[in-house]
Amino acid sequence: MKRLTAKLVFMGSQGVGKSSIITRYIKGDFKKECEATIGASFMYAKVTLRDYQITLKVWDTAGQERFRSLVPMYYRNSDAVAIIFDVSDRDSFNQVKNWINEVRKNTDTPVVYYVVGNKTDLIDTRVIMYEEAEEFANSVNARYWETSVYSNTGIQDLFTNIGRNLIEIVESSKPPVHLKLEIDPEEAPNNERINNSKIQCCTN
């Protein structure tokens, strides 16, 4: 079994469902009334894929404007970024571009970008259609994905896909140094790509 540890950050406007997506994935439950996140929450999410055991260190950031200036602290050194918007709220969609630009400007490592349209169960009030969002995501070199926490669609696959993309990066010819790949010793006697990384926290 190969072990991979990566940092994933959820960003986006307030009330789009960042915490709900993560809670749905990790705990499997859904609350209609979700209190606003304070600062940022930190959790571990596990994804098992092929012969990989991926541990995602997930930062769930608060969408409120007053916490905005803190977000760089969380996305620094991240391996994957999921920017969430609410498909029934155009403002939250318009914000996605700003988030992506900001992360691009402030990181120099390859990052997996996901634009995620949440609340697809709101068919009647939906204003951002799949095509528009996907086109936009392509234009900023991000992948587009849709979820509904309420009807529990797309959530599992979102995390699996992020995991798959991270594996692609690790298996590429030039994997980034900070992405931590550990291979159980008995299975990998001569692997050159082992990152010699004990638990090393992102303290820089």
């Binding site: 209190e35 600062g39 940022a40």
Partner: protein, 459 residues
């Protein structure tokens, strides 16, 4: 000068009568006096608004000095534009005569103002609490706003844009203010300026504190550590030379007890402790010890890069506490029946508040018969509240108050170290009540080790 002031105040009172929220006839006159009610529909919407306001006897409003609404305890600020307009008018008309509007009294209704430029807080109350206490509640609300924004940022925002809509930055924190107001209305800690400790054997507490201290002392720039079980403090550790003020602890307690999501994930958030330092943020690592131990550990630092170090320390603290049985002892203490006053065996004594003045900690035993309903408990709390404000009235030192009321006899008793407020059966004599003090003081000597935190170590 004084003369003009009087007339001003008269106009104010007549103005305020128009919005007196307890009188349906008068509130109707607002709709009639409205300069240009565009339609009868608008008139009736005011009536609905005032009907809604009348349902509650305690209101708190926050607005900017430019008159922009920031917060209302009940209802929606957007529907109260004219009400906020009136508030700002009252404040500025007194300001124009170089004076500060403190409060307005009309009938049962008291309106208390707290001007903390660039924001103004207004409390409207129809209950019996003293004005000073309403002002203190407003200060708490103000402190809560500072704790989310810092004073520096608040001033800067309004310096740059006097017309700024602060709700943009406050969003998501309104519920904390709601809960904080409820806290100020129900928790004796607010009245006594003190905290309540989780009752446990002092040996257990020392062991817990030592475990936290061992980890915390290794971390540079960590300033405070608190372990909290619901409304009670289990343990506090602190950096040399720094101490936590009670009102800041109240804000932390309110934050913890109002936020369910802390239970499911580690949280890392900036927080300003207004009494400690209103100018800047500290960073708080907040997490519950374990799924099977619902005590919340708060680690406060000035270094915003310390999350993983603190997360690691927390993990070690939990591991250690599991090994040395502290988790178990905390759980025991949380579910244990709190010590009952009946054990002191004092004839005629129904309830009390005991404050250790040097430690700023109090003990409030569980309510027992006849205080069986929330209404009766609240009533007793307001009797306490009035006694507390009489005992602590600035500029005089009262040692004893003995009051025979219709439903109970009250005794307040203060020494250099202790403040004691006791509720007796109605016909208890003065002598009997003072004897009870002696008896209780002796009993407390045996119990206080488990009721209070005597050891707040530094690192």
């Amino acid at each position: 000068m004084e003369k003009t002031q009087e007339t001003d105040t008269d106009t104010l009172i007549s103005d305020i009568n128009d919005i007196a929220i307890h009188d349906p006839v008068i509130s109707k006159s607002v709709t009639e006096n409205e300069p240009e009610p565009s339609s009868s529909e608008q008139g009736s919407s005011y009536e609905i608004l005032f009907d809604q306001l009348k349902e509650n006897n305690k209101h708190i409003f926050v607005l900017s000095t430019a008159g922009k609404p920031i917060y209302t305890r009940f209802g929606n600020e957007n529907q109260m534009a004219s009400l906020f307009g009136l508030m700002i008018a009252l404040v500025s008309v007194t300001q124009d005569s170089n004076d500060t509007l403190q409060s307005i009294c009309c009938g049962q209704t008291r309106i208390v103002f707290l001007n903390k430029d660039p924001i103004i807080l207004v409390g409207v109350s129809q209950s019996s609490e003293p004005n000073d206490q309403i002002k203190k509640q407003l200060t708490y609300v103000y402190n809560n706003i500072i704790s989310t924004l810092t004073l520096t940022q608040l001033k800067k925002i309004f310096h740059n844009r006097t017309n700024f809509d602060l709700r943009r930055l406050m969003s998501g924190s309104e519920r904390l203010i709601d809960k904080l107001i409820t806290f100020t209305e129900t928790d004796p800690g607010f009245l006594l300026d003190s905290i309540s400790c989780l009752q446990m054997p002092s040996s257990s507490r020392d062991k817990i504190t030592q475990t936290i201290l061992t980890q915390c002392s290794k971390i540079k720039n960590l300033v405070f550590g608190l372990l909290i079980a619901q409304k009670h403090i289990i343990s506090i550790v602190r950096m040399k030379k720094y101490s936590l003020h009670v009102s800041d602890i109240h804000l932390i307690l309110n934050l913890i007890n109002s936020t369910e999501s802390f239970k499911t994930a580690e949280t890392w958030t900036p927080i300003c402790l207004p009494t400690f330092d209103s100018s800047g943020y500290m960073h708080a690592h907040i997490s519950y010890l374990a799924e099977d131990c619902q005590a919340c550990l708060v680690l406060l630092t000035i270094d915003h890069n310390l999350f993983f170090a603190l997360s690691d320390a927390k993990r070690k603290i939990t591991e250690k506490m599991r090994c040395n049985d502290c988790l178990h002892e905390i759980n025991e203490a949380i579910i244990r029946q709190p010590v009952s006053l009946a054990r002191a065996n004092i004839t005629g004594l129904r309830h009390l508040l005991y404050k250790n003045k040097n430690r700023s900690q109090h003990w409030c035993p569980p309510f027992t018969s006849p205080y069986n309903t929330i209404a009766l408990q609240q009533n007793l709390m307001s009797v306490y509240s009035s006694l507390i404000s009489q005992m602590n009235f600035p500029g005089r030192t009262l040692k004893v108050i003995f009051q025979q009321l219709t439903a109970e006899t009250m005794l307040a008793w203060a020494t250099d170290d202790v403040e004691l407020y006791m509720s007796f059966e109605p016909l208890v004599s003065k002598e009997c009540a003072t004897n009870a003090v002696t008896k209780l003081t002796q009993w407390m000597k045996k119990e206080e080790d488990s009721l209070f935190i005597f050891n707040i170590p530094m690192f």
